[in-house]
Symmetry: C2
Subunit: 363 residues, 2 copies
Amino acid sequence: MSGLLSTLQVELGERSYPIYIGQGLLNDAELLVRHIKSRQVLVVSNETVAPHYMEKVLRSLPGLQVEQVILPDGEKYKNLDVLNTIFDQLLRKRFDRGCTLVALGGGVVGDMTGFAAACYQRGVDFIQIPTTLLSQVDSSVGGKTGVNHPLGKNMIGAFYQPNAVIIDIDTLNTLPARELSAGLAEVIKHGIIQDAGYFSWLEAHIQELRNLDPEALAYAIEGSCRIKSRVVSADEKEAGQRALLNFGHTFGHAIETGMGYGIWLHGEAVGAGMCMATRLSRMMGWLDGEDEGRIVAVVDAAGLPVSPPRELSLACFRELMAVDKKVMAGQLRLVLLEGIGKALITDEFTSDILNRTLASYTA
Amino acid sequence: MSGLLSTLQVELGERSYPIYIGQGLLNDAELLVRHIKSRQVLVVSNETVAPHYMEKVLRSLPGLQVEQVILPDGEKYKNLDVLNTIFDQLLRKRFDRGCTLVALGGGVVGDMTGFAAACYQRGVDFIQIPTTLLSQVDSSVGGKTGVNHPLGKNMIGAFYQPNAVIIDIDTLNTLPARELSAGLAEVIKHGIIQDAGYFSWLEAHIQELRNLDPEALAYAIEGSCRIKSRVVSADEKEAGQRALLNFGHTFGHAIETGMGYGIWLHGEAVGAGMCMATRLSRMMGWLDGEDEGRIVAVVDAAGLPVSPPRELSLACFRELMAVDKKVMAGQLRLVLLEGIGKALITDEFTSDILNRTLASYTA
């Protein structure tokens, strides 16, 4: 099996863009070049991904001024200082405002390259080639870009849409199993919040996904991108419905920040975070024990943690959740469940129930 | 004379906002509070402006969580590192995404505060209180925000509109005469590129403006804001007509970069840059000597330089202009004149004529 398997259009008016999903797409020079209007292209990657795929991408861009930036690998390098190395290269190589930035890598590379594209000369073209399952199903859709600050994750950034996203599922062959599982966290999340049928399919096919079965992967990536792009199209700037995508993330961010960036993978923190939000929903009486069991089972089968790290105390959790940007006007709002496929944003939970949920893990 | 003299609406669809112009507006608490939807306000100023006006602004915001950041004064501090001190304060004080940033100061404070507002949690509210003539007529209208990079001015930034702009012309009483002149450069520019009648009025009233005559100032600020907001409303993202506002700026940026930021004021560089663009227009045969004389005379009467610094060689100028972001796809485009009030964007000049124009100053 090779070639383009699916094309999705993310509908955002004049900022709409296509997502291409297939096998061997990095060998398809025409697909990339089609979306480059400039003669100057900067490909941003990292030291892990570049040795595998940089050559293929460069081969697709003959006759253009193509430059590279190779970032160090890891969430801890997602900061303003490292971002500035992208600007350094753009200016040293005299890139004008008609240039194109290409992100070749996972979520960190995509977030930083997208933010650099949003800011360089107040906005230049941007193409995403996500090479991890997480970035393929999550950060390549939705236009969220940015960097971390020592006091909070993704606190500095922009909403900025790419011109195109090219997903070559062959890149998953070089992805460590742990990172594949982390990507499955977001795939599972999309089913939980929006689509009970998709969730059931995932329950039945989770092992095929972990075994990199191409047909299963293409189906899951397309399904996830479709759910996410539907949510994002309806609510680009995260005023309302889009916040549903934060299911498990308020707990998850607390885990990531509390442990220090990069100790737990984002998807691992989200896996545990989803289980915590699920338990809180059940303790509210909104969700039955069977649904909780199904969710915990599929998170577990995906190879993800189903509870937070023992090191984080209840007090620490509450402290970390207060900084989270879901705190609006002093009131913590969470995404909770009324059923599988039925999520809602709510502040209708008592501090006591939240405490008891946290205590059930941290005791 | 006291109170609100004029209100202008900048029309940008859902991002439209008012500009208030008057005397004593910093004493009008209600005017500021009307545009603050949050309970958290960060006022950003600098060490020169804050001692004069910070107290007045703080008095307008009782009952809210109000924090301050006082930046060092000067263009050389308009960089990513100093920008980060704003993020530090926002996060230390746990500002949420519903917060408001207020810029109290000149163009540097406005550009940095606006960019911080654009990036903090991917965008929060932003109010401008410009305290220099330059920022009142220029950087408070148009939504350009950002910081400099060692290799280029304003290379990192965003288009981001304020919720309101409050111009209290009393703040000009503490402005050094040299900075007042620098502001007049942009006022004159607006007449030159768009409005011959306004230019004639300026020729007749330039001394009253330098003497801080309130009625003349209010008229000039309103006229300039009106011209600029008309241009910006038609072309928010600078695809076409908005570039007319760069008249004198390609030469001016070369002067600023070549001399090192902050040696010449931006407005001084633009003053000389406008004279250079005018001379190039005349050498093209598009403008007669009388119009050139009028332009040079009013720039001179405003207390501005009418030629570039001797230190910059012709080779240096060409090198610096090549980095400028008006270089599109390798071709330098400039804003030139066909008459007073009639500017156009063009690449229809030969390298030879550009060289001869530069040589006429640098020989």
